[in-house]
Symmetry: C2
Subunit: 710 residues, 2 copies
Amino acid sequence: MLDKVLNAKSVAIIGASKNKTKRGYQAIKTLLSDGYEGDIYPVNPKEDKILGLVCYKDIMDIEGPVDLALITTPARTIPDILKRCGQKKVAGAVIIAGGFRELGARGKELEQAVVTAAQENGIRFIGPNTSGMINLKTNMNLVGIQNAPLGNIALLCQSGNMALTLITEATIRKHEGFTYYVGVGNESDIKFHEYLEFFRNDPDTKTILIYVEGMSEGRKFLQEAYKTSIKKPIVLLKSGRSAAGKRSAGSHTGSLAGVGEVTKAAYARTGIIVIENSDELFPVAETLSSQPPIKNNSIAILADGGGHATIAADLLSDYGINMPELSEKTQAGLRAILPEAASVVNPVDVAGGTDADPSLFADCVKIIINDPNIGGILVVGLFGGYGIRFDKSLAIGEEAAAHRFGAMVKKRKKPIIVHSLYSSHESRALDLLRHYDIPVHDSLDISCKCVASLCQYGNYLKSYHAKTNFVFNWKNKAKKEGNFIIEAARKEGRHVLLEHEAKKLIKLHGAQTAVGRLAEDEDEAWEIAQSINGNCVLKIVSPDILHKSDARGVKLDLGSEQEIRNGFRQIMKNGLAYNPQADIRGVLIAPMAQKGLEIIIGTKTDELFGPVIMYGLGGIMVEIMKDVTFWVLPVSPASCRKMIEETRSSVLLDGVRGQNGYDKKSLRKLISICSELIESYPDIEEMDLNPVILHEQGLDVVDARIILKK
Amino acid sequence: MLDKVLNAKSVAIIGASKNKTKRGYQAIKTLLSDGYEGDIYPVNPKEDKILGLVCYKDIMDIEGPVDLALITTPARTIPDILKRCGQKKVAGAVIIAGGFRELGARGKELEQAVVTAAQENGIRFIGPNTSGMINLKTNMNLVGIQNAPLGNIALLCQSGNMALTLITEATIRKHEGFTYYVGVGNESDIKFHEYLEFFRNDPDTKTILIYVEGMSEGRKFLQEAYKTSIKKPIVLLKSGRSAAGKRSAGSHTGSLAGVGEVTKAAYARTGIIVIENSDELFPVAETLSSQPPIKNNSIAILADGGGHATIAADLLSDYGINMPELSEKTQAGLRAILPEAASVVNPVDVAGGTDADPSLFADCVKIIINDPNIGGILVVGLFGGYGIRFDKSLAIGEEAAAHRFGAMVKKRKKPIIVHSLYSSHESRALDLLRHYDIPVHDSLDISCKCVASLCQYGNYLKSYHAKTNFVFNWKNKAKKEGNFIIEAARKEGRHVLLEHEAKKLIKLHGAQTAVGRLAEDEDEAWEIAQSINGNCVLKIVSPDILHKSDARGVKLDLGSEQEIRNGFRQIMKNGLAYNPQADIRGVLIAPMAQKGLEIIIGTKTDELFGPVIMYGLGGIMVEIMKDVTFWVLPVSPASCRKMIEETRSSVLLDGVRGQNGYDKKSLRKLISICSELIESYPDIEEMDLNPVILHEQGLDVVDARIILKK
């Protein structure tokens, strides 16, 4: 569907100009100098010719079809121009101008007018507030960035400066380039997930590189990302997580930035390689584009000096990557060709063994790459610089090694990543490595991150689960009685369910927990209490009293008739004292929960992704240790297990220090029920089960709160 | 004392050679080509002249005095050479050869022989297993790294490759250089702390840059670092923290790597700027060498594009740096000169305002730098590249701005740090910035880290505490009775104090806790129990039973005569059943501790720093949440407060959710007592108070274990 936009065979430049400082001039000049394969139609009522091309007074004057309009005129002119484009049956537009929603209410109105005009005229558009778009395959450069290298990375970027940064970096690194660049801008029409779908299906794109500040259709993006990352890697940096960052993103594209922890976890679960440091963004995409993923999370380091090896080993450990000791056979093989001082365990340090003949690097790599426990090799140090630093003659051995590196990667399907201090120097050996699609880095930190991303992607492909598709089937299991509960609250004008209503709802969907019963008078209270085995808890029930403890509306551990009757009376009295106008429905009488492990489960509606669920240790610890995990709903039973395992406190559930463990099966079931509940009742805005007390067998939902959408 | 070594006025090259591949040739060549200001004496019995210089058969043949000997011969030759040097009254040596302790036991022996020979002959030496040393002020280049730039950073490095990396980086960055480089090597004679002391007193050194894998005199290093960092910043990367990293460091220099968490915290407390990523090492040192520290932890970002600003804001937030909204006055000032679309809050986005005239950057900086809430400015984006990317004529405006930047830093003593995508291009404006000592970075991540380091150093200088000097006064408060307890254990051949002995010892130094009394028979047990107000805990006392619970040797909460007597009998029986050979001294009867907050205090002897103390939340949580902090002993009362505040759980001590807080004063006192105890009895290897139960008033040391040195 975006084919005519991104692969346009003809472009009209609306706002074409003879003024060299204008975008309408630069665009034409760039298309000509880059050698765009399609037709170029300048449009400007005041000009006859621009840069040797016929300039049309009006888009309708163009004889041939026009796929795409590059609109370089100011914001206020856009709606009318889109109408004219519609008449010409233009398929797509790139709208450069800023001055829309990022400026506030007035800009937002204008942006809506642009969207409406586009929709009415059947035009899909990129932007506004964008630096433009480049198709490097057809040399359709609508940005003006010079010399962007062709390659196999599709670049989706919400900042023109970041695009310039990444393209500049690609040029300096002399290895990998781009299929497309799209400046997403305000994302008013074509959304992130649509570009993603397009790039997934583009045969020339091997990796998708995304810089995002905020997006409007988070869940659809997750769905498309999930479908895409199993086919080709997505590398993404999400900024705007801090207060100052949000301020900046807001003034930049007017996007929703989302909550940092939820967003990052959600992206990672779709298989996206989420990057935190912008320096790593391009090198990681380059690596994933050019090297096979690592399948066993294990790497060997080959070094010609201790310091680099030690630093790399630390960093890779931090990333959770294994550096197993090499097998006996591998060690013996290395020992046979390296000097006595060499370390052959892993990291391997050649200890001067390559000084006289750097082709020995390839001998080492050959021995190591055949070790079955090793999934890939990181070479660190001076490789590629022996000819520069020591003696020109050594360059020959380096070049020979580079050729063999290339052959070995191809044959063994295990990646080689090279760190070289001489990466930015002229080195034939390093150029050969690049030719063989072996990335070369001058930064140790970044080489390690690239190794980590190959492991991360390999791990994802291995654990890929075809059911985590982020598709939400609203109402798929709603129950009549559940709808009654919600409707009853709605009828009373409430958007909060009372505690026993909330508990009834989760019980209705299979939670094994006591709801308790509502007592309207003291006699009823005692009657209910007698039906309960053991002591009771009494809680006030009133739509006007949300914080029951504040109103002194909770009494714990009551047993005797006197305790129950006194408790009932006091709670009713306290409630009225707290709020004389309160509509008090009575007192909920429920069994006192046994001691156990306090946990908390909550759901809320995220601005970016819709319904999400939180799980973690409850009580005071949740506030202090923040040992919680957020997942986008719905969650599968397998996901429930992973959610629990993700928290540091999960070991508590297995029982520590000789204690018995807790009922993880019931816990997983309760999380599944929450997921089902949110899918069943679209009215629910958020839900809070806090605390839930876990036992060796079973659990108790001690308090439950459900808030409906307003 | 190291003056004659590091500032040597004459150098003898032992192992001088005519063979171009030999170190003994290269060293002479480099000294000549670099223009070393002192005398050069080649020494080799087989040569008469090398590179035009007279070659001496023996060092004794040299007429003039020799300050320093560069020894390039193999390991086994070193002890004899040192003796010859001693006869010549040589002050220092640089020993290049590897093949010592990093190779294991045999090498260790040889290394000891070298140390002995040096000591006996009054020679201080650098290395062995080092790439050498450079004094850039006198062009005494004993390494062979070419073109290292002169500047004001002293480089102390435990890896030749890392030194090469850092020096290469300095060359590429074209701004800051070095006073000295020392390859520390195996640190057999001159230690890290001695170099530190030398550089502290060197007037040309402004910053000290250290790469360390391991060191032998950790505590002395802390003491010197503490004295140094108040005068000039120390930037340090410590590698070898992971298992694979330790393996690598061990095979590299045979050093003790130390425990990661203890080491990092210890360094940071001396004011050292500890770096985790090697890419940041040089830029941070460069920044601290050239810009004033930030005094109020607050920064403003000035950007010419949203993306860079958003990313920088996120990173700086992660570093805990404030980006306050600019004052009304500042905002008004910016609004007056910037276009409507500009954001003037912080980050400031000029939104195209500098496109026509980049000298506007300086106007913006001038307005922002006068905002009293702002401690420094980070400029991000394309500055320095307007003349390259857009139009040559714009370079003039950039240069004008650069001059004004320089003047403003000088006048306002607030730093300006510049990120520029064009940092590696030829840009006069950026060269001017470097001239004015304003660092320029092409990495956003690294610019932010540099800003963070200026804040960190500024914060340290503000909070500097003249008493945290890491000096340990052994035995300063030892008590006679305490020595008796330890001697008694020693006499019995024990290296573990029994529980009541350990408790007595801490009580002796002022801890307010019950020790309990030892009952040898059932009657005595009941007698002691009667003297206790409330229920008792009974615990087996035996030097042969360390894990009392495993032996079922603990009974809690006993009150009645029957309970006490039964308890005593059962414990004795269980103990014998557990270990029939056990020497059971009886049963300790102590008051049952009230409920409260479980915490843990421990001390141990770190291989690097000596005695350290750990504090954290106790119970199961300590294992799971690892919410503990490690400090090098001794700790001052102020440090005790900080230790507690450093843990996330410290808010628990203040009382949360309406609970009362706990007795922090008693806790601080107990930590002080532990510090005093370790200082008083050098025999103590480690101590464990676990758990300690904190109350609203007071605390109970429930169990105490003290292990003596073997």
